[in-house]
Symmetry: C2
Subunit: 357 residues, 2 copies
C-alpha cells in the first residue's frame, strides 16, 4: 500500500497542520493536547458540540468543525481513541456558558474516555451531556464494541444537532435531539479492500481477489460474513434490506446527569422503518471508492425504498466517514421528522461541508 | 480491481441515473444523446456554459451542473470523448438566447468533437464560443494530445466563468475570462496506482510496489518519468517546483469567430508565477486517495509558496477531477486577480460543489 505521507508517526499531526493552514478562516488547532475548534470559539450563550475519535475516518470529525456543526473535534492517533485530556481541553476552549454536548461513537475506548472527560469537566464546573451513537446493524458486539458500533448516523447527528445549537436550543434539548437522531438512524457497510494503518503499513485484514466483507466496521473489524463480490445492485439490496428489516432494537446505555454529577442507565428502543416513513438516505464511500460508484449504489437504493413506500426526502452521497483508503461503501437510513428536516437544511460552513453560507 | 458496478457497459448510464435520482432539485438528464443540464434550463438572457469529456473523472463535469457553474455537461463513455450530437443537443437545451461557451479540455477527441459541435450549432443559428484548457505542465505532447493536456484548471475555469455568466457577463466577456483563467493556471500530477476501466477490468498501466508515475495524465497516460515512491514532502516539492519554475509557454490555439462562422488561430502565452503573485492553490485527489493525505501535500505546498513570496489567498482540497479509483494527486496553481477572486467566492449550488447558496 502506497500513501502520500512522510514519516508514518507524523501522519495525523501533519494532516491536521495542513487542514489548519488551508482553513484558517474556519478553524484553529491546538497541540498538546490535540483538538481543533471553531476560529470564533467560544460562542457566548451557545451550546457547544464536540465529537472525536480515532483518526483515519476523515473528513469526520475534524472536517466538520465550523458554523452549524461541531464546535470542536478531538482526533486520536489512527484508529485510536483520543484521550480525556484532549476532550477536556476542547470543552474548556469552546464552553460559552451554555454547556457542552459530547457526541460519542460506540467504541469501548471512545466511550470510556468521553465518560472520563465528562467527569473531569463536571469537576471543573462545566456542564456536559454525553450521547452515544450506536447505529450499525451489522453485528451486535464487535472487536472494539459492546453493542452496536457507531457509524454513519454520527455525522447526520452532528449536522442536525449543530444546526439546533446554532439556533439556540439549550443543552438538554440538543442532547434529546441527538438521542432522537440516533434512535432513528441505522447503517451497514461493506468493504472491497482492506485499509492500511500508516504505523503498520500492512493491510488490517486480507481479502481475496474476488471477495468482499459484508458488515465491515470502520476500522476493518470483521463484519457478518465474507463472500464473493456481488454486482452493485445486489450489494445495495443486501445493505438496504439489512437496515429495512432490522426489527425493534433495545439496549441500555449510560447517560450523565449533569445536575447530580452521576451516571444513570437509560433503556433505548429503535423502531423499524415502515411504509410512509420519510427518510434521509446516505450513501457513504469508505475513502478509496469514486463517487461514480456511490451513485450506482444510490440508484438501486432509491428503487428499493420507492418499492417499499419509503420516501427519500433528503440524501447525502460522498465519502464522509471513511477508513483511510478502504474501498467500499456504507448505507445509512435516517427516519426524519419536520424538525430534523428543517435543521438538516440549515446553513453549515466547515472545511468539508458547506451549504447555505 | 473490484468495483461497485453491475455490468461494465452500464457503468456510465447507471451512475448518471443515480445522480439524476439524487439531485432532481438541481439537474435533469437526457439520454440518446446523453447530457445533463440545470433543472431550470434554459435561463433566458444568460450565457450558458457547457463542458464535457470522457467519464471516469467524477465529479467533473456532471457534478458541477447547477447554479453558478455549468448549465450542461456531456459525459462520454469512460475516458472517451462525448460526440458532437451530445454537445449540440445540450446547447439547444440550455440556450437562453445569450449564447453558449464550450469549455474544452485539450484532448484530441474532445477538441475535434467540440469543434464539430460548434459548427453544427452555428448552422442552427446558435452563437457558440469555444475555449481550450491546456494547463498540464508535465509533458508537451501526450498519448491523446497535441500540446499540453487540460486538467485541474478546467474546474477552476468552470467555477469562475459560471459565476460570471450568473452575473450577466455577455458571451465574449465570459470567453475572454475563461481564456484568462487558462493562461494563469498550471497543473501537474502523480499516480501511486493505475486505474482500471470498467470495460477492460485490467489496470491501464502497471506500477511496481514501490513506484510512482510523475506527470501522469488523467487517463493513465504516461508522465515525465517513473521513479521510486518518495515521501509526501518530496512529492509536493516536485509538483510545486515543476509548476513554479515553468517558464513562458507559447502556443497557437484555434478559436471560433461566431460572427464570421470560421476558425482563426490565436497565439497564447503563459507567464511564469513570480514573487508577490496571489494564487489559488488546488490539491486534487485522483479518486482513491483519502483527504487526510491531500492535506499533507497541501501543508508542504503552503510552505513552498510562502518561502517564495507567493501568497495563497484561496485554496481547494479534495477529489474534483479524478481517474476512477486511481491513487495519487495533482496540484494546480492559478494566479488570481480581483475579478477572479470575487467570482470564485460567488455562490454555487451543484451536486458536488455548493457554497453561499
Amino acid at each position: 500500500m502506497k500513501k502520500l505521507i512522510n514519516n508514518p508517526e507524523d501522519f495525523v499531526r501533519e494532516s491536521l497542520e495542513g487542514m489548519a493552514a488551508a482553513h484558517a478562516d474556519l478553524i484553529k488547532i491546538n497541540f498538546e493536547p490535540t483538538y481543533l475548534c471553531r476560529v470564533d470559539a467560544p460562542r457566548q450563550g451557545k451550546v457547544a458540540i464536540i465529537s472525536g475519535g480515532g483518526s483515519g475516518h476523515e473528513p469526520m470529525h475534524a472536517g466538520f468543525v465550523g458554523m452549524g456543526m461541531l464546535d470542536a473535534a478531538c482526533p486520536g492517533e489512527v484508529f485510536t481513541s483520543p484521550t480525556p485530556d484532549q476532550m477536556l481541553a476542547a470543552a474548556k476552549a469552546v464552553d460559552g456558558g451554555a454547556g457542552i454536548l459530547y457526541i460519542v461513537k460506540n467504541y469501548s475506548g471512545d466511550v470510556m474516555n468521553f465518560e472520563m472527560a465528562t467527569e473531569l469537566a463536571y469537576a471543573e464546573g462545566i456542564r456536559v451531556l454525553n450521547i452515544l451513537i450506536d447505529d450499525d446493524v451489522a453485528v451486535k458486539d464487535s472487536l472494539y464494541t459492546q453493542g452496536r458500533r457507531g457509524v454513519g448516523t454520527t455525522i447526520l447527528a452532528e449536522k442536525i444537532c449543530g444546526a439546533a445549537a446554532e439556533r439556540g436550543y439549550d443543552l438538554q434539548r440538543v442532547a434529546d435531539l441527538c438521542r432522537k437522531v440516533n434512535l432513528n438512524g441505522r447503517s451497514m457497510g461493506i468493504a472491497l479492500s482492506s485499509c492500511t494503518v500508516p504505523m503498520r503499513m500492512l493491510p488490517t485484514f486480507e481479502l481475496g481477489a474476488n471477495e468482499m466483507e459484508v458488515g465491515i466496521g470502520i476500522h476493518g473489524e470483521p463484519g457478518r460474513k465474507r463472500m464473493d463480490l456481488k454486482p452493485a445492485n445486489e450489494i445495495a439490496s443486501m445493505l438496504a434490506l439489512s437496515i429495512l428489516e432490522d426489527g425493534v432494537y433495545k439496549r441500555t446505555v449510560r447517560e450523565w446527569d449533569a445536575d447530580k454529577g452521576k451516571w444513570f442507565d437509560l433503556e433505548l428502543v429503535n423502531q423499524s422503518l415502515k411504509k410512509g416513513d420519510r427518510i434521509l438516505a446516505f450513501v457513504n464511500g469508505m475513502g478509496g471508492t469514486p463517487i461514480s460508484e456511490l451513485y450506482i449504489i444510490y440508484r438501486k437504493l432509491a428503487d428499493i425504498c420507492a418499492n417499499r413506500g419509503i420516501q427519500i426526502v433528503r440524501n447525502l452521497i460522498g465519502s464522509y466517514i471513511t477508513s483511510l483508503e478502504m474501498q467500499g461503501c456504507s448505507i445509512t437510513l435516517l427516519k426524519l421528522d419536520d424538525e430534523m428536516i428543517e435543521l438538516w437544511d440549515a446553513p453549515v460552513k466547515t472545511p468539508s461541508w458547506c451549504w447555505g453560507a
